[in-house]
Amino acid sequence: MMDLSEIRMDYLTEIRVQVVYFGKAREAANASAEVRPLSSPASVEQLLSEVLNAHPALARIRQVVQVLVNGRWASENMQLKDGDRVAFVPPVGGG
């Protein structure tokens, strides 16, 4: 009998991630959230590249934006999975 966790989904060549924009990233993207398809495997860096193509205004804040994946700080070389939620966080402050 097969364990479901052992089933390999190699045939999946596309993943879909939810992208959310906060602060000025929302203005630059002219959207609060969207779903982006990506060719698998895909890294955060690849997603960034696609998002910048789609929303060129984001380039203005590219260097200062930080990325959360599923609520955790992520490096650009982190690999994304189908269904991941990626948040773009520009510099903000508060109390």
């Binding site: 959310v20 906060f22 602060g23 000025k24 929302r26 609060s32 200062v64 930080q66 959360l68 599923n70 609520g71 955790r72 700080w73 948040a87 966080v89 520009p90 510099p91 903000v92 402050g93 508060g94 109390g95």
Partner: protein, 601 residues
């Protein structure tokens, strides 16, 4: 040596004897404790720890730092320092706007009130003089009507009014002191001490021509220019461009929720599904009408909003993150319009919104668990509005809630419901999703507080560097640095948000040029350490020890949700690291440490 910047005048007001004495602040005290929070705590310590908060012996201090009212960017704040009726610790609570600057221009470094007036009284302050006047015609009025009346009497020119509303008069333990810009000294119940003393308001006339004189003018001018450049170019603070300027503090709502650190429904969860509806981004798109500011501040982080029609119709001062959280996610409420209305009400009654929201969320949980008969539903804004009225007037159930969330939870039968430390409720960061905030709440000298040591700067905003909010190692040591730095800015009484773009170098340059004090970065950080330790010493003398540096059990045993799923707060590990970094023994400052810091001989 006469230090620059100071007015060299403290008014000691004996309300019982209706007598005012004026003194020059001790220069050694100024060098050791700066002013604002630091000097206020020194006065509270000198007054003795064995005083009841509601007593003639307790002092209520309105304090300024040497930079207040000057050209220094963001230099408009005032500290109110006393023994808190909510926690029994020393507390200091600050507010912005222009009242701090005007008190300096009126010729003062601070006002210290003792005793109790025989009848309702207000203090009129102008040109280095304090006179006590009959307040019977404004006693019973809320903040907005009080300010309107006094403004009509004295004229708007150069005027600030700092006042309590009905909540302070009725000794609501978390009553606030509010000024003409609706800026509040919210935490710790300073408004209740003011009300107990029958002191209704301060009326201050101060003209900018009396702004402080620096010891070294040219050096001061350059230091101010450098600091101002950091603010206007800073990614967070740049006017009309930085995140704080464009969206206000409420830009944090979505981000803190995203990492799973937004206390929701009284801490039952750590994410709120409707967070975006309350966020700074959504407010900007819908009800935002203006960006007010404070003295000498280009950031303009306040977000004035207007709800044009409907039962929550209101035009109010600002929807801050903490208030939108405490009356929003914390209570399961997703209506930004209703919350704007509620915040305006709490400003008018003169109530701490953080504590008020926690009182209401405790009541909601008590109702859910059938600990009380009343059905108070999660997220029901009309019931919340009714409770705020009752709290402000101490009517019905409001009489219980006016004692604070912890005492209310005890009355309802389970004090563990209250998310509090030393009797004061937590703010908008859940320790299960943000470990640094856990040790921060636990060791705060004024009860649970996010501002004593703002570790979210590092854990969420990557300032000065990024740390993992779910990691505990290093957070104890990190917290001591934030606590000491904020003790410095609170004692200068410049806005804490300056730290998003300025650092110790900018603070040092402005302080030494203004005052003429000879010190360096290490010396200034040592001053911050001294201030944090003198507060702890006072609390130790009041009986507080390491056992009081605790957190409610839910944060230690019940995991968070969302990204914080499976995580609890690793408090004990951080406490050991923190006490080691502080040099304390079980939360107590050793005598040698007090001598080393020059707090005792």
């Amino acid at each position: 040596m006469t230090l620059g910047g100071y007015a060299n005048c403290i008014a000691r007001v004996d309300l019982t004897r209706e007598k005012v004495d004026y003194e020059k602040p001790n220069e050694d005290d100024l060098k050791k404790y700066i002013g604002g929070r630091g000097l206020g705590v020194k006065y509270v310590l000198d007054n003795g720890p064995n005083v009841e908060p509601f007593s003639e012996e307790n002092i209520l201090c309105f304090m300024l730092g040497p930079l207040v009212g000057s050209e220094v960017t963001m230099s408009g704040r005032m500290a109110v320092v006393t023994k808190s009726p909510l926690t029994g610790t020393v507390t200091d609570s600050h507010h912005g706007g222009w009242s701090g600057a005007r008190l300096r221009w009126a010729g003062f470094d601070g006002l210290v009130f003792k005793g109790k007036a025989k009848k309702p009284t207000y203090a009129y302050i102008e040109n280095g003089n304090v006179s006590l006047k009959d307040a019977s015609h404004i006693w019973g009025k809320n903040v907005h009507d009080t300010i309107k009346t006094l403004t009509q009497e004295y004229g708007k020119q150069d005027l600030s009014v700092v006042t309590i509303g009905q909540a302070g008069e009725k000794l609501v333990r978390f009553a606030a002191i509010v000024n003409e810009n609706d800026r509040a000294s919210g935490r710790g119940g300073t408004g209740a001490v003011m009300g107990w003393k029958n002191l209704k308001s301060l009326v201050i006339k101060g003209n900018i021509k009396n702004k402080p004189t620096p010891a070294r003018a040219e050096e001061f001018r350059k230091a101010v220019a450098t600091a101002n450049t950091a603010i206007v170019k800073g990614a967070v603070t740049a006017p009309r461009n930085g995140g704080l300027s464009v969206y206000g503090t409420n830009v944090l709502m979505n981000i803190v929720n995203e990492i799973g650190a937004l206390p929701t429904k009284n801490g039952q969860l750590t994410q709120f599904e409707h967070a975006d509806q309350l966020s700074g981004e959504t407010v900007k798109e819908t009800i935002l009408v203006n960006d007010p500011t404070c003295h000498a501040c280009p950031v303009a982080c306040k977000k004035e909003v207007e709800v044009k029609e409907g039962k929550y119709k209101v035009h109010m001062e600002s929807t801050e993150y903490e208030s939108m959280w405490s009356l929003g996610a914390n209570c399961g409420c997703s209506s930004k319009e209703a919350i704007a209305k509620m915040v305006d009400m709490t400003n008018d009654y003169g109530i701490d919104t953080i504590e008020a929201g926690n009182c209401i969320s405790v009541t909601m949980e008590a109702s859910e668990r059938s600990l009380i008969r009343e059905k108070i539903q999660w997220g029901n804004p009309d019931q919340m509005i009714d409770l705020i009225h009752k709290i402000g007037r101490r009517e019905g159930a409001g009489n219980i809630l006016a004692e604070g969330a912890w005492r209310a939870a005890k009355t309802f039968g389970d004090e563990g419901m209250a998310n509090q430390v030393k009797g004061q409720s937590i703010a908008a960061y859940d320790p299960r999703g943000m470990q640094g905030m856990g040790i921060g709440y636990a060791t705060s000298n004024r009860g649970a507080c996010h501002l004593r040591g703002y570790t979210p700067a590092s854990e969420v905003l990557a300032i000065p560097q990024k740390t993992d909010p779910l990691g505990w190692e290093g957070k104890g040591k990190l917290l001591t640095i934030f606590q000491d730095l904020h003790a410095i800015s609170d004692s200068f009484d410049i806005c804490k948000f300056s730290a998003f773009s300025e650092g110790i170098a900018e603070y040092l340059a402005q302080y030494t040029a203004m005052t003429g004090v000879q010190t360096d970065a290490d010396g200034l950080m040592k001053t911050g350490e001294r201030i944090y330790n003198i507060e702890r010493y006072y609390n130790n003398l009041c009986g507080f020890t390491g056992k009081d540096d605790s957190l409610p059990e839910k944060f230690l045993k019940r995991p968070g949700s969302g990204p914080a799923a499976g995580h609890v707060c690793d408090l004990e590990k951080m406490k050991k690291e923190y006490y080691d970094a502080r040099g304390w023994i079980d939360g107590v400052v050793p005598q040698q440490k007090l001598r080393d810091l020059g707090i005792i001989a």
